[in-house]
Structures are given as C-alpha cells and as structure tokens.
Symmetry: none
Subunit: 406 residues, 2 copies
C-alpha cells in the first residue's frame, strides 16, 4: 500500500526546521507495511495545498498532510481541505466550550482567533488532539484516505498513533518487511561486486539497496515474504562475512562493547589525531564502564613519552605518525590501565601538517591484545572531521575482528 | 530568486535517513538570497526524476537535485539528466585513471561498476568532488539552472559551497543578508525577554528569529539592508554580552582555541562521563596542537587516582561525581600535563547509574587556571548523548568566560 506525504511550512523550506516529522512518519507507516512513495514540502498556500491533494491522491491511496492547522492567518490547511472536498464546516459549540475551558485553566482568555479551530466537517471526521488545540481532519474520496495533522511533532505523533494507524492498519494486507545488514571496511562498489556474484540482486520479490556512509555501507533488503528475506540473508552473509558487523540499528561500538562484555575483557584507548573521539564513541554505549577503563589523549609528544612510555628514540627516528610509535602507544596504554586490550591511533587529520612522505589522511592504528600487537596503516583522503571519524571506525573494527574468533 | 529542491532516495521516504541535506541547502541558499519554494522527495526512478526536472523547472529558476549518483544499479540520477537534456555522455579517461589511483591508495582494485562515475556530459558540465568518487552535473535549459549532487552530506556540502554557490551568487540582486548571533548559557525565553526590552523585534525591514539548540540559542537577523543589521546588532549585543560567544558559523571550540592562542596559554582535559568528547571537540579545530596538550579519559576510579592523583579518601567520602573530585581532577590534569589550564568533567550521563541524591543529569565541571580552581554543578535532564554534549559545551563556556578578561 502506498502513501503520499505533504508537509507544509516555510520554516521547513528555509531550513530553519529539520523535517524530522517526515522520517518519523516514514518509519511508523513502514512498520505496518505502508510505503511512502512520494513526499512534497510546500509553502502555506491554499491553492497549492488543493493542487497537491489532487496530485498525491493520483499516486497513492493514502495522503497524509502535516502543518498549517494553527489559529493564525497563515494556517490554511483546514480551509484547503474544506474546499477540496466541497464541504461546509459547521461551528462545534461543544469543542469551543472545551477549548475555552482549557485556556482558562492556564489563566488565559481564549482569543477569538481560535474560533476557526472549533469548526468541524460535515462530510469528513475530526481527529482528536489531546495535547493541543488543533484537531485533525479525515476524509475519504475515490478510495483514497486523506488525513490532516498539526505540524507540532508531539501532537502529530500522538494523533497518528492513536487515530491514523488504527484506521490504516486494517487496509494493509501483506506488509513490506525490512532487514538491514551493516558492513564496514569495504567500499560500496567492491561490496556490490562480491554480492552480485552470489545472489540475484534483481530478485523479483525482494529489493536490495546499498546505503553508503563514511563509516561503512548498509545493505537493506525489502520484501513481503519473511522467508525470502531470510534466504537472501543466508546466501549473502557468508560472502561478505568479514565485513558484516551487525543488523538493523546496532552500532559498531555496541557490537564491540557486547563482545568485550561476553568475553569479560577490558579495553583502554590511546588517541592522538582522533583527540578523544574513540573514547567518546565507546562511552556512548550505556554500560561501557563494565569494559572500558579509560584512555590517554596523547596529543603532544611529551604525553606519548611520559604517560604511554613511547621511547624518545622511536619518536626521533620514525616520528609520531609511524608504525613503531602506535605499537608502543598501544602497549603503553594497555600496561598503564592494566587492560586486556590497548588500542592506539596516530595520524595526520589535516588540513595542515602533511608532507610528501606523510600526507594528510595517513593514519596508523595499533592493537595490543595480550602479548600480541598488530598495526595497520591507512591512507584516507578526507577532511579533518571525516579522517577522525573514519579512523575511530577502523579502530573499532580492528577490535571487532580481533575478538571474532576468541 | 526561487529554487526547487529534489531529493532522491528510498531511505529518505522510508525514514531511515532524516533529510538533513534539505534543511542545510535551505539555509545555505537563503544566505545568498535564494528561496526554496518547493521540495520534492522521490524514489530512485529514472522516469520520475525526468518528470520532476520538468515540473520543478516550471516553478523555479534553479533546480537542485541530490542523491542517486553512486556506482550501483539503483543510482539513476545521472542517466535521468542525460535523457532529459538529450545529452550523450562520453567516457572520461583522465578521471577514470584518477579514480583508479584513489582506489589503489586504499588498497583496492577499482571495480568495473565505477566506470559509470567516469562518464562526463557533452552539453553540460561536471562538478568536481574532492571527497568522493561521484562527480556532480550542471546543465542550463530555458533560463533554468540544474544541478545534480551526491546525497552523501559531506560531499554534497563541499560541492555546493565550492561550485554551486559561486554560480548562483551572480544571479541574485539585492539579496537577503543574514547575521547570526550565537549564544550559550541562557534559555530561549530568558534571552528573548532581555532582548525585547531593548529592541523592536518586529522591525518592519529586519526580522528576528530565535533558534534554540541543545547547546545554545542562535539569534538570526534577516534584512536586505546591511546598515539596519549592523544597527540591530549594536543595540542587541550589550544587553546579552555575557552569553554571546560568536557570530555566524563560528563554533565555541574555535572561539576558545583562538583565545588560548592569543594569550599563549595551554590546556589539558580530564574527562569522566563525557568519555573524550571534549577532547574530540577541541581537536576538531585545525591548529589545536598549539594550545591543547592532551587529556585523560578517567573512566574508572583507578585512573582518577593513579593518573590524576585524586585522593582515595575524596572518592570514598564524596564519590566520583562530586565537587571535591572534579576539583582534584582539574588540578591533577593541569599538573600532569604542565598546562596553564586544566578542565575536568564528572557526572551521571544516564540512563542508568542515577540515585535519589545523585540523579541522571548531575554534572560537575572543574576549571583549574593558574592556582585558582572553580567548580560548577549542573542538573541536566536529557538522555545520555545530550548530557555528554551539553556538558562539553558548558565546559568550553567556562573556559571562555575565564579567559574573557585576561
């Protein structure tokens, strides 16, 4: 079943408000098997709204409109609905009394301006709003369901949950199921190449989408048949097993944290160019104090030597950004915190500080686990912030891979 | 001047990705006087994209399209552009060699699939992408400018800034000027109250908007006359001077960093609940190694005692989240790094770990500067991530205020 979404408001177009309503509604409808196939954002303008009601109902069997139900002059959604459905709204005395009462409870005399919020349709229905004064509207026309809801997120969410979802749920048979496979450490195209050999990504009943982010690529499967999704997942995973860190909403720091907990191991961090980002991500997981002991942000060489025990000679011979230095940093932080694992990062985040031999984006990561130390070298070519982010991701992934077969 | 925005991607419609690109573009164009009057989001579908290029160009003189420029089968934006503009793209050998080189630097053989990203238009122009493999497209038709940019925010932003804005800027006459006054440490309503007394925020030629965020409130002035904006700013600033940390896009960590540089002072951090976020923010500023020496993430009590020299008795008597502990942490990190300033944070980020006496959101921040130590106590009541973010902001603001009159 398809839905069209119309969000109304200048503040959305100008960018002062991020349209979080749209994604919230997308997820919510997706869960009951309704797919938003088109989303338009327009200004508060009556004739434009009427035009969109017509357009969107040609493309979808449900049209959800948010915004423009307030009491002021620029709120024209209700009026557009009445015109489009050729309805003659009537004044709802009971609701007006109710509203007057609500205002008096917060010591306000209700402004006359609010009278337009007490109108109710003859041909359509009212959607109650427990949290505000703007009620919603529900109309049916030519097999299409039309809803108008306020733009205030709290009110819209409560009304969608309590009134819209129950109506729509009954209309859906055979909902779409989604499964996300989260990968890191492989570019989108290389991942697609691996997968294409083993599965038919143009499966007639299951669609596959690649969602690349700086820190990895998500593969998303959509299908109406849970068995086909499970089959796809079973065929897919072995081919790319090394890169898959989890499913659906899980983050890499959660996966690593859970694994450390399972194994009863502890971790400490030594960060140079990431400046604390790795520690920040690890401690973003509630309960991280069970396995994360702490870290050193060794931004200058003195900290590397005095706190982490990196040898002066190592720094002089190989430099702060080198295999040898991160090796000693990882061992140093492991021994300082008496942790099972010590992870270290040193690199040139940019935009300055690069040289021909050591360009911006050169990052070394060291992992000391028990008595073994592994060091990896990377050449990223991003800006400062991205280099920090991708370095923290790669470091977490090194820990994940090291603990995979423990 | 009017612009239409087309954002492409199932992940936007399904709600898996919040469309932050749209609001970012809205703000960015608004700054040079271009108003987005319509925004459509559709699926990756070639004929739908072609249909929208036609529709949006009827409503606006600039059409910006994001998304669908990747190498995989579901990326069809470039192909839709070539069809709509009746162009025959040609293979760009130089760019292909460049891409091959970039992949080899991260130890990958470039997949054949990426060849479609090396195509270039004959009738239109290519928009360079320094941060990724997907280049953009620029076409002109019937007085309308059409741009295709990738959906990856970092790449889209850099390309819009470097290539799109310079082209569009020349088209605008009498643009709207925007000035943002950035504040922190005061709630929106208190700020508005202070301001309302001194200026007429309903000025006929200059509009004022309050933009509250977790970490502070931005006051935004819009006007077509630079002199009026300057007058407004001059009237406004003295009333709220203590809370203003900067203007326009500057961040608090940049302001603090610049001030430390100016004064030739150095800083070290001791973080408990923020887990490295403060260090991460400080080192997000290029050149921070001039004043930031490093830090300790003292996530457990051993680190607080052994590295920072917090007394066992202090921890036993007052606990890790206390005025006394953050005082010793600040002094400890200052003396460990031999820095001029030492800043410390300890608190209960949540969602677990709270008690009736020490609830979630209780945060202490200590600042040791020379021989003086100041400690502040805060009661936030946010989720874990927000508590970490707001704590790092408050800590930076304490440093800013301490250095204000130095």
């Amino acid at each position: 079943m398809k839905a069209g979404l119309l969000t109304i408001g200048n503040e959305l177009l100008s960018g002062f408000t991020v349209n979080t309503n749209a994604s919230w509604i997308g997820l919510k409808l997706g869960k009951i098997g309704i797919e938003i196939t088109v989303h338009h954002t327009i200004q508060d303008n009556k004739s434009k709204i009427i035009f969109e009601l017509e357009k969107l109902s040609e493309m979808a069997s449900t049209v959800i409109v948010t915004g423009g139900l307030g009491p002021t002059h620029d709120d024209v959604t209700a009026s557009a609905f009445y015109s489009y459905f050729e309805d003659s709204p009537i004044f709802d005395e009971n609701y007006w009394n109710d509203l007057t009462d609500r205002f008096s409870k917060i010591n306000y005399k209700i402004p006359d301006m609010n009278r337009n919020q007490a109108m109710k349709p003859e041909k359509g229905e009212v959607i109650q709003n427990e949290l505000g004064s703007a009620r919603g509207l529900y109309f049916k026309k030519g097999g299409c369901h039309f809803f108008a809801l306020p733009g205030v997120p709290k009110e819209m969410k409560a009304m969608l949950n309590n009134s819209v979802i129950p109506i729509l749920k009954n209309q859906v048979t055979n909902p779409l199921i989604t499964r996300t496979i989260r990968t890191t450490g492989i570019p989108e195209s290389a991942l697609a190449e691996k997968i294409n050999k083993n599965i038919n990504i143009h499966h007639s009943q299951c669609s596959v989408a690649f969602l690349p982010k700086l820190t990895g690529v998500d593969i998303r499967l959509f299908c109406r048949d849970i068995k086909i999704i499970q089959d796809m997942e079973e065929n897919l995973t072995p081919v790319i097993e090394k890169y898959v860190y989890g499913y659906d909403d899980v983050s890499l720091e959660e996966v690593v944290g859970n694994r450390l907990s399972e194994l009863g191991l502890t971790l400490a961090t030594a960060e140079s160019c990431t400046g604390g980002l790795l520690g920040h991500r690890i401690t973003g997981v509630s309960g991280s104090s069970n396995y994360y002991l702490g870290g050193i942000i060794s931004y200058n060489n003195e900290a590397k030597m005095e706190l982490l025990g990196v040898k002066k000679k190592t720094l002089e011979t190989f430099g702060a950004v080198s295999e040898e230095t991160v090796r000693e940093m990882a061992q140093g932080v492991q021994s300082l915190f008496k942790s099972d694992l010590g992870i270290s990062i040193s690199g040139i985040a940019g935009p300055t500080g690069g040289t021909p031999e050591k360009p911006v984006g050169l990052i070394y990561i060291g992992l000391s686990f028990g008595k073994e130390v592994a060091v990896k070298k990377f050449n990223f070519f991003h800006d400062r912030d991205s280099n920090k982010r991708i370095s923290s991701q790669v470091a977490l992934n090194m820990i994940r891979l090291a603990l995979k077969n423990e």
